[in-house]
């Protein structure tokens, strides 16, 4: 075997330019495949961890996926709200440890505005049970205080103390503004990699206050309540969009879900976020699976190129193989020689691919963390990536068998005198 290895390495070195280029293409395709797999994993994790620690998400009766879409991802709008009385009833339920009310509907330059309570900063968890942290400032205390998600402040260039006005509705420009009641930025959250980053947070009271003089989605003509007087009104909300519920004991989650879904005074829906997120991922995951399939195709293309290069070299190597036969090489040696070449290029390409990916992630990790809140683990390869690598090597082996078998047949037919 050692002499074959010696010959294989010398022969490969002799063709280092073509093989080297093939190696590069295999390595790059492996980097792409693993990169996509890793980003996919990160995206899936960060998606699945958009909300954590919450036992139930509750909203008006609709589909679980739609409830998750607006309550967690601030995508789309709720068709129905839940009454404040229902919120209070659930919040005071003996199994319930905490609740976070969510009131949506307004926006600021396309970023959703969320009305909530201070419980949000206390109980909201994402990722692996990480709480929200303020990069600057403090949570809202006064009615017209706003706390910005990191992306909002970065994208719009806001700092503490800046004044912002909110837009009624979720559309872009051209909608009615709550211009008479500006908010002050009092806090900016650290990046989380979740929809929180894209959210402007205000208190439920503020949400109520800016709509005091509104009716049916428009300002009441000739009627305006100046900002300084709103505190004189009862700012208790009448409705909220959804709520997050944390239970004292997770064991009660199904009982509580049944209680919510059977809640008599109002048609409510309670969903387990993990289950609903999985359902949702089935929908949005198509893009990610397509991407993975495309990058797998790129690997196949790379390995096909490898097979083509080795097959093409076979023509000029027939003489060489006949010489090896004459000094005692078996046809099976010739087969091994050619197959090993392809396999080595594949394995080497896979290794270089892993190294490239590691370098790239190390290089991009700070960027990903600061811009997307994605914490890319400094691990080498995950089990899933290792399985991908194994399948790449498996496909590479199959691809290498082609020139191996061809060389085997040739050397059987040629014997000691190749017919050139």
């Amino acid at each position: 075997m050692r002499h074959l290895l010696f010959l294989a390495t010398r022969s490969a070195w002799n063709r280092r330019l073509t093989l080297g280029l093939t190696l590069v293409s295999v390595a790059l395709s492996v980097t792409l495949l693993l990169g996509v797999a890793r980003v996919r994993q990160e995206a899936r994790d960060s998606f699945a961890q958009s909300v954590s620690g919450t036992d139930l998400v509750v909203g008006a009766r609709t589909s679980p996926v739609q409830l998750m879409l607006y309550a967690v991802f601030r995508i789309g709008e709720a068709t129905n709200n839940i009454r404040w009385q229902s919120y209070q009833a659930l919040a005071s339920h003996p199994e319930v440890a905490w609740t976070i009310p969510l009131s949506l509907g307004d926006s600021h330059h396309g970023f959703p505005v969320l009305g909530t309570s201070s419980a949000y900063f206390e109980h909201f968890r994402y990722g692996s049970s990480q709480g929200l942290a303020l990069a600057a400032g403090k949570p809202f205390a006064d009615v017209f205080d706003a706390v910005l998600g990191s992306e909002v402040s970065e994208h719009l260039g806001y700092h503490l103390g800046d004044h912002i006005t909110l837009t009624h509705g979720m559309g872009g420009e051209g909608l009615a503004e709550h211009a008479d009641k500006p908010f002050t930025v009092v806090g900016i959250l650290a990046p989380t990699g979740t929809p929180v980053d894209r959210t402007v947070h205000i208190s439920l009271e503020a949400m109520e206050a800016i709509h005091l003089d509104w009716q049916s989605g428009a300002p009441i003509p000739g009627f305006s309540i100046p900002a300084e007087y709103v505190r004189k009104f009862d700012l208790t909300p009448k409705e909220i969009t959804a709520m997050l519920v944390g239970l004292k004991s997770r064991a009660a989650v199904f009982k509580m879900q049944r209680y919510i879904n059977d809640y008599a005074p109002e048609a409510l829906l309670g969903v387990l976020p993990g289950v609903a997120l999985d359902q949702l991922w089935e929908v949005v995951g198509i893009a990610e699976r397509t991407l993975l399939a495309v990058s797998a195709m790129v690997v196949v293309v790379g390995l096909t190129g490898l097979t083509a290069v080795i097959l093409a070299s076979l023509g000029e190597r027939r003489r060489e193989l006949a010489i090896l036969r004459s000094v005692g090489a078996k046809p099976s040696d010739v087969f091994l020689l050619l197959t090993a070449e392809g396999l080595c290029v594949t394995v080497l390409g896979a290794l270089i691919g892993v190294i490239l990916l590691t370098l790239l992630t190390a290089l991009l990790a700070p960027f990903a963390q600061s811009h997307f809140g994605l914490v890319i683990q400094p691990e080498w390869i995950s089990v899933e990536e290792f399985m991908l690598l194994l399948s790449v090597v498996g496909v590479g082996l199959c691809a290498s068998l082609v020139p191996g078998y061809r060389a085997y047949k040739l050397s059987l037919a040629d014997g000691l005198t190749p017919r050139l």
């Binding site: 010398r10 000094v327 078996k330």
Partner: protein, 237 residues
């Protein structure tokens, strides 16, 4: 050694069933240490015969005996091993592996055959020093030994091929038109060197050529068409 190096009896070979045989030899023998000039114009079945000697082809019937071993009774891997251990080949041209150095080309048989490797060591040398000795004997200066094979002239390449065929003292050296790419003067010089080294290594030499002028100095000349009973039909190669 009482056994003949090569013993052939009533050997018939055809490329595939249904076509006419291209070799049909009643008897052919080479004794130890003999130097045979095998004359064969193209089409006389000479390459086929060499393939049989090398064990890459198998006769349809008849005896094909090398060193007392019936090749037809060996497995194909067994014949490959037998060739590595006991036969050295020199071809017409392009004898060398282009990406190996001169020395590594000469050492190839020692890598494939433990027996030839062992014989070199019995002679009290390392394979490398034996390769260097042979190359020097064949008038290849030490400066050339570590060059790549392709940097050598055709004449030099043929001498490297001779050194490779001779290393580890195989019982049989088969040379297939090794001088056809050399000019007349070098042909004679090469033949002399090859003969001398075969005598020194104790190897029998079967020298195949269509050029009868080279036959002088061999112990025996055999005309392949005259012993091959189906040569007249003009089988290919």
């Amino acid at each position: 050694m009482s056994e003949p190096i090569i013993g052939i009896e009533n050997l018939v070979f055809r490329w595939s069933a249904g076509v006419d045989p291209c070799l049909d030899i009643a008897s052919f023998e080479v004794q130890a240490g003999e130097r045979i000039f095998l004359h064969g114009p193209s089409g006389s079945g000479k390459s086929t015969l060499l393939g049989l000697f090398g064990g890459v082809l198998v006769p349809e019937r008849g005896r094909l005996n090398l060193l007392g071993v019936e090749l037809t009774k060996l497995s194909s891997a067994g014949r490959d091993r037998f060739r590595a251990d006991h036969v050295g080949f020199i071809f017409q041209q392009f004898n060398l592996i282009p990406y190996l150095s001169v020395i590594d080309n000469v050492l190839l048989p020692c890598r494939f055959s433990a027996i030839r490797h062992a014989r070199v060591q019995e002679g009290g040398r390392t394979p490398r020093s034996e390769a260097e000795r042979l190359l020097s004997h064949l008038d290849l200066a030490a400066a050339l030994h570590d060059r790549t094979a392709t940097q050598l002239s055709v004449g030099q390449q043929q001498r490297v091929a001779a050194a490779r065929a001779l290393i580890g003292q195989p019982e049989l050296v088969i040379a297939d038109e090794p001088t056809s790419s050399l000019d007349a003067e070098r042909q004679i010089a090469f033949l002399d060197l090859l003969s001398r080294e075969c005598v020194e290594a104790g190897s029998a030499l079967v020298f195949v050529s269509h050029d009868r002028r080279l036959a002088a100095g061999f112990s025996r000349e055999i005309d392949l068409p005259s012993i091959n009973r189906c040569a007249a039909e003009g089988a290919p190669v």
